[in-house]
Amino acid sequence: MESNLQLWLIPTVPLLGALWNGLWGKRSSERAVASVAVGAVAVSFLLALRAFFALGDAPYLESYFSWIAAASFQAHFNFYLDPLSAVMALIVTGVGLLIHIYAVGYMSQEGGYYRFFCYMNLFLFFMLTLVLAGNYLLMFVGWEGVGLCSYLLIGFYFRREDAADAGKKAFITTRLGDFGFLIALLMIYSTFESLNYSEVLPAAASLPVESTAGPLTVICLLLLVGAAGKSAQVPLYVWLPDAMLGPTPVSALIHAATMVTAGVYIIARSSALYVHAPQALFMVALVGGITAFYAATIGIVQTDIKRILAYSTISQIGYMVMACGVAAFSAAIFHLMTHAFFKALLFLGAGSVIHALGGEQDIRKMGGLRHYLPRTYWSFLIACLAIAALPPFSGFFSKDPILWEAYVSPYGGILFWLLGILTAGITSFYIFRLFFLTFHGHSKTAVATSSGIHVAEPAHHGVPHESPPIMTWPLMILAALSLAGGWVGIPALWRGGDHWNLFLAPAFRLAALPTEHAVSHDAATEIIFTLASILVSVAGIALAYLLYCRRPELAAAAAARLRGLHTLVLNKYYVDEIYRSLFVQPLVVVSRELLWKGMDAAAIDGSFQGLANRTRRLGDRVRRMQSGNIRSYAGWVVLGAILLISFMVGLAS
């Protein structure tokens, strides 16, 4: 290993980019702004690559200076490189780079170009700090910083009132989680007398496994609260769907690929703590499993393309959290990586669609885009296949171990496997519903144009057109990664080298399962399980195909009779008829009426809203205390004094 990797450069370069654009971006041309921003990320990516290849067996630690060095408390600015943080840094910079390039094209018609890239670079700075930090306090710095940038970027379209509200909601909700993190941090310090991973993790590993809830369990649960806030897990997930009001590259980078997975990272990072607190681990698995299933069902009934992807993200992160919960940490990180590829691709593809349609986000108004956006179409298809976990796409190789571990792990069980497999089926269904509705069937725009009827749709300007190359190239690279990204982790079962697990093993050495727990299952069982999951995915796709691809001939017939607009409406009813007539109906009803409207909108969202409103009302009552009248103020003082005196004198006698 090289003696000095200068890890600090990795986050600092984007920071410099952010500063540059923040200070001079207003006066620079778009081109200059974009090259500074993209250049900074590219440099950072190369540095991360260098660090990745320089990595040895032992964790590599760089300490810069002492941050807080009081007698009773020590904290340093130090960075920590092990397989886990190296992989994370690569994902962040790599996907970040592609999304930056994409954004160069995507944002070119929007205002505030320099501001956007300034925030994006700043975000990468904080994200890399989070990932590379060598102690929990520095991680918290990054943790808060990414939240702040996320807030700034969600509210980027500041003229939209709802965008600003969504930003605030995201900030406050995640902050609730942040305080869980903060208290966990203080407790870690009081338990281990240090915040450095290099000291805390071995110390935790040397502690006995807590059979009843002890300090470790409390710490782990508090960390889980933090993770749930940042990673949009039940019940703190409400902010993420609203966060989709930000620009699409932001959704791709922050709310799909990187920031929201920080919760998974922190659990994986603290794996040594978690395996010694089985109860906390069980809670992690439960939260993850429930979130995965719950969010997927909501995804079925959404119509906004980005909201579907948002719920899908919540669900997929639930998968990762569940994987952590069954102590399959390397599988969780594996899925984190492949998810970063295909979810970023999905978002960017969606962005391309939205871009092509001039801002339209409702999938019911889309269709037949396959002819207009061929490159987007093919890359989107790959992403859909990847998220539906069909072999040989990356999602398959990362999701399969999670399902398998959920079953065989000593912390798992058949319940988690069932949750996982059901989610897998629903996932492939809703993602292909989105896919077919968007790209197949008849183009509604085309119908309107060819029939000569003027459709009052000011948002659509003309025929949909493919995005410029600067936007499609990142799509294709991501498509390649979504296809092949999983091949690094082909397990031995499929004649693969299992490189991934071997590579990450050092990072989770302290969290390794005790050998006596390792239950051996024969290959046949594993193959059966794998086949089952493939089957479920295929079934989901088939169902979606059945429901949403029978439409083309109906629509074509309607178009022939020059009654485009009418049949469009009719057609929509037709879809609904099919919808109802099929066995999906109960699920849909339950999902829409109970889970989404009942739970999501009313109970969870409502209770947060209610809490906020109640707090404000309380505030109103409190401020009425300040009547402005001196005598009543004096009355308060006297009242307080009397209470105080009676308390003190009463205590004394």
């Binding site: 300040q626 009547s627 402005g628 009248n629 005598r631 004096a634 006297v638």
Partner: protein, 100 residues
Amino acid sequence: MVPLSYYLILSAILFGLGTAGFLFKRNIVTIFMSVELMLNAVNLTFVALSYHFRQLDGQIFVFFVMVVAAAEAAVGLAIIIAVFRNRGSLNVDQMDLMKF
């Protein structure tokens, strides 16, 4: 001789009267006089205790308190005049431009 507790009770009563005056009077000047009454009640306590302990400290404190009270009176009068000039009234209940 009069026991110490008599003085202390008297000063407590005076202090209470001052407090009550602050709470129930409406004229700013009267309210201010109530504050002065409170300060002088404390002075009485100091003198009584000082006499009781046979040490001079308490008496000296009274000097200081008196000087402080005088300075307070000067500042207070200045502020009251400024308020009167702005508002044309010395009723405290009307002094509520800022609230909530």
